[in-house]
Assembly symmetry: C2
Homo-oligomer: 220 residues x 2
């Protein structure tokens, strides 16, 4: 079935050009700004990210406060992206996710699709089973969903011609403390910075290193 | 810095149209085929997926064998996507990742960038530290990288107008057994099916349920 929306697609060449163009930016142009319409689209793409069951036990913190960013930098191995990138997004996962998160989502489905909550009972029970696993398993599972959003964000940014850098090298406990996350029921998972690469970022000129397709993709 | 490649970008509207168009397909058109150039691009996009350090301790198994797919279906809650989608990809993570994986990657950097391995010693030591953490932590970390590839794949597919369905609902041990993964040093992580939605897949008509942007994205 070809829908109208499906006709508005990109070519394989456009996709691969964007993905080859992107790299983990080491040095941002501190004066570089992402056009407002592109940033708005990137925020929407975060919202539209798929997650298991659609549960969305996650959140995206966009840190605008310069002082706060200056405080986060030493907790990020002093990497310059934290202060120099136009945008800094901290990806969060729900802490101690449980029945209340499931209920909130069920209520949202009911609201958006205008279906009575009773019709969603089976789906709800399945989700309740998933969140009743040991807490560390639930958190690991929900954290993986956050990484779907990260992958989506990086690809979306590349397609819009926005530079980005995913960052795992930061002190999560320190972030959680500086951002007051625990008390609000959240934990920091991963960071993405976005903006414009500095013209003298030597990393931009490095050849992209990937194993050959013949090693990474196997057909059986 | 505006590079040539950056000029070949998509508009925010194209990105968001694609992301709104996609959904987790429940029923594929069993006769639907993905055009070869689009599938080739999707395999390349998997290869180009970012991962921590660029280590790529992962692999993508594309299951063509119909008999094998029939055997995997009962291990996947009997979901029809496993046999009806044009493509079935099992995303794998390296089992017991360690120094050999780091060395293999360092050798690859050295080969692609034509730099002596000695120049990569610092980077190598950092990676060796990461893989020397307790095995379950290393596996959880590398598994999260696989989810970046999943997010990238789903967004890439949507942009190419290719339908897809991510699937966590399968018996990993059974998959590992049927695919003979452990002996080869791999573990199944997550599945993605891709093809064309059936014209009567009722799920295609469901409104997409997301929490409002004002709840998922917070500016501070």
């Amino acid at each position: 079935m070809i829908t109208e929306a499906a006709k508005k697609t990109v070519t394989p060449e456009t996709l691969l050009t964007a993905m080859s163009w992107r790299y983990a930016v080491k040095k941002f142009d501190a004066a570089g700004r992402i056009p407002a319409d592109k940033w708005a689209a990137l925020e929407q793409s975060l919202v539209l990210s798929p997650s298991s069951y659609g549960l969305q036990a996650l959140k995206f913190l966009v840190i605008e406060d310069k002082d706060l960013r200056a405080k986060l930098r030493p907790a990020s191995w002093d990497q310059s992206q934290i202060t120099d990138a136009d945008k800094l997004v901290v990806f969060l996962v729900r802490k101690d996710a449980g029945p209340a998160d499931v209920q909130r989502f069920v209520d949202r489905i009911s609201e958006v699709r205008r279906v009575p909550a009773e019709m969603l009972e089976g789906y709800k029970q399945t989700m309740l089973q998933s969140v009743s696993l040991p807490p560390e398993k639930v958190e690991a599972w929900l954290t993986r969903q956050v990484y779907i959003a990260l992958g989506n964000f990086l690809t979306s940014a590349a397609l819009l011609g926005v530079d980005a850098c995913p960052m795992e090298g930061f002190d999560k406990d320190k972030y959680d403390e500086l951002l007051g996350l625990h008390a609000k029921g959240w934990k920091s998972v991963v960071v993405a910075t976005a903006g414009a690469r500095a013209s003298d970022d030597a990393y931009a000129r490095n050849a992209k290193v990937r194993f050959p397709l013949s090693e990474l993709v196997e057909h059986i």
